[in-house]
Amino acid sequence: MKHGRAFWLFVGPFAVGLLVFVYVPIGWSLLLSLFEARNTVTPTEFVGLRNYADMLTDEPFLASLGTFSVFAAFIVPLTFVLALALALLVNQISFMKAFFRSVFFLPTACSYVVASLVWKLSIFNGVRFGLANTVLGWFGAEPVAWTVSTSPPWYWLVLVTLRLWLQLGFYMILFIAGLQRIPQHLYEAAWIDGASRGWQSLRYITMPQLRTTSVAVLLLLLVAAYQAFDEFYNVLGTDRGYPPFARPPLIYLYYTALGSGGQDFGHGSAGAVILTLLIAGVTLLQGRVFTR
């Protein structure tokens, strides 16, 4: 009895929070996706799967899914490789180890909004005194409109570097945790057998031993890529809305359901369900492929 009371005392508030703020909204969203629901969250006109059919033929929504599948295809391996490289470097050094871990991890604690504004307004603004343009100016180059230009699409450089800066430290820590679980005697045995300390150790010991960590990192990176919102909204959005390019699915759904008076909850919810199923499907597929 005592254990039961203690259990609910500790778990109860979180369970209630989860129910009220996660499961009820998800259920409500599923319900809304089957209704014509403009400017109301208590709709009356049932439309069945029409909203789903609309969204699956909605060009901007499909474009947002396509664009971000491409984005994920770039950002996931890039972050993976750089975070792993950073972890290997930081794990190997014998001096100021804690300092370097902290330095690379610190950006993770930074707000996406603040970082986005620093990137947009200070480093990559388009006027001649922006940091990036000042550096270009030293070499005689003309200022570049980083967040505006679509040919070439320089805004990807802004968005990708921003995300890398914010996320690398977190995944580096995950890899360091994985590296520290590898028994040292495996390396020593391999070196006695003639394996090189560099590539061969990495190829035949480190990477196989990091398999479970790698799968977890890849899954987290993929989900995070599909959930991109903050940096895109703050770097490319304006008071007049969002441009038609580099529009991630969440941004598109935000403007459909909530943004600037859109208030089409039926289509917004249907899009959210489709996106959830897509993320779940790709994640399961990826998990299956990498854990074979």
Binding site: F124, V127, A145, R240, P243, Q263
Partner: protein
């Protein structure tokens, strides 16, 4: 910018009139105005209301979304500022305010009042008229031997000639003008967003007009990626550009920085069928239909925006410049009687176009702005983009009006 943002954010945490949130106060919402002093002013107005306490909430960030979401729940404001949308009216979110005006209705500028009227009923009491126009630096134009442009081609030519050294010719927003010049481009050839609940721009001339924005964008004379966007005059006052598209509200800041060295113009015409234009919009005070105190809220709106003409004058002219929506106040406003401000008032009289008519919904606006953006920034074929946007707008109009 970031300091102003932080200040605004902190301001948003508190809302007060000195009476405290005792539960009996009317809730009034504003979006965050850029000019210093406005927040204190509206709090002062609320505090001086004698009948019931009023809590003012100042909302930085995406005010439209926040407001629209709050109107779905019981926790929204009683009184708020916005522009009426047909979708909100059809959803029964707004209270008709025809009876609030009393005898003063005829004194409100008719075109502005029309912008707050849907299906014959008025849902907002206009607070301030905002208009956009082209600012140009007289000395830089004289130096380059350029006359103030009176056609779109002259504007493109002027921007090109004025782009010398570290100075660009024109700043019309960080997106190259796609968002704010789409309407003026249509008006420059005699078209519009919507007309009599029909698509107003399904015409080859629209493609021609938007194609001119592409010409401007590719001319290399536009400033892009400025720290502050078109609504703030900083790029113009800092000497980064010779011309900027911004609004009447910026006149005090520009005068402070440049003295008399600037003039203003409407967006010029492109063809004989079009004309010069200035986009005009007005935020109005509205009452939430879900408010439990609709009568008290209407009474407060009447007191603040119909009876207290001194507050309307202060709100419009003591901070940035806006045009008071009541003709009698606008006519006697000394600050609007000379120089560029007087020119702006004349533009509104002669060339005003509704920047955000009630039947131009967010879905239509997004479809149109996306099309303009693709043409201007990506060089997409204008005819196809305009046609595609027109189809979406037609579908939405059909849904709304049958």
């Amino acid at each position: 910018m970031s300091l102003a943002g932080a200040t605004a954010l902190l301001g948003a945490c508190g809302s007060n009139t000195g009476r405290g949130g005792d539960g009996s106060a009317l809730k009034q919402w504003y979006h965050a105005y850029g000019e210093p002093g406005v927040q204190q002013a509206v709090e002062r107005y609320a505090q001086s209301y004698g009948k019931v306490p009023v809590d003012v909430q100042w909302n930085p960030g995406d005010y439209d979304s926040k407001l629209a979401t709050s109107l779905l729940s019981d926790g929204g404001p009683d009184v708020f500022e916005s522009t009426p949308q047909i979708s909100s009216v059809r959803a029964g979110q707004l209270v008709p305010l025809d009876d609030v005006f009393g005898d003063a209705k005829d004194d409100f500028t008719a075109s502005i009042l029309a912008g707050h009227t849907v299906d014959g009923r008025t849902y907002g009491v206009p607070q301030a008229v905002d208009m956009q126009m082209l600012f140009y630096r007289k000395s830089l134009l004289a130096q380059a031997g350029v006359q103030p442009p009176s056609t779109v081609d002259e504007l493109i030519d002027a921007a090109r000639k004025l782009a010398t050294g570290g100075v660009k010719g024109l700043f019309a927003g960080n997106d190259g003008g796609g968002a704010v010049l789409g309407g003026p481009a249509l008006w420059s050839v005699g078209l519009d967003y919507v007309r009599d609940h029909q698509v107003g721009f399904d015409d080859p001339l629209a493609a021609q007009a938007i194609g001119k924005l592409r010409e401007l964008y590719t001319s290399g004379s536009l400033l892009l990626g400025a720290v502050k966007d078109w609504a703030e005059p900083d790029a113009f006052t800092q000497g980064l550009v010779a011309m900027q598209w911004t609004g009447l509200w910026a006149v005090p800041a520009v005068q402070k920085a440049l003295g008399d060295d600037f003039g203003v113009l409407p967006f010029p015409k492109l063809t004989g069928s079009g004309g010069p234009s200035v986009p005009v919009g007005a935020f109005g005070a509205m009452v939430n239909a879900k408010s439990k105190r609709v009568d008290e809220a209407k009474e407060f709106v009447r007191w603040l925006w119909v009876e207290r003409t001194d507050y309307q004058e202060d709100f419009n002219l003591s901070y940035g410049f806006h045009i008071p929506p009541r003709d009698s106040i606008a006519a006697k406003a000394a600050k609007l009687s000379g120089g560029p401000a007087a020119d702006a008032v004349k533009f509104v009289r002669d060339n005003a176009k509704a920047s955000n008519p009630p039947d131009w919904t967010s879905l239509m606006r997004t479809a149109f702005n996306d099309a303009v953006s693709r043409v201007v920034r990506d060089g997409a074929p204008a005819e196809a983009e305009v046609r595609s946007a027109a189809v979406k707008v037609r579908d939405e109009l059909k849904r709304l009006y049958g």
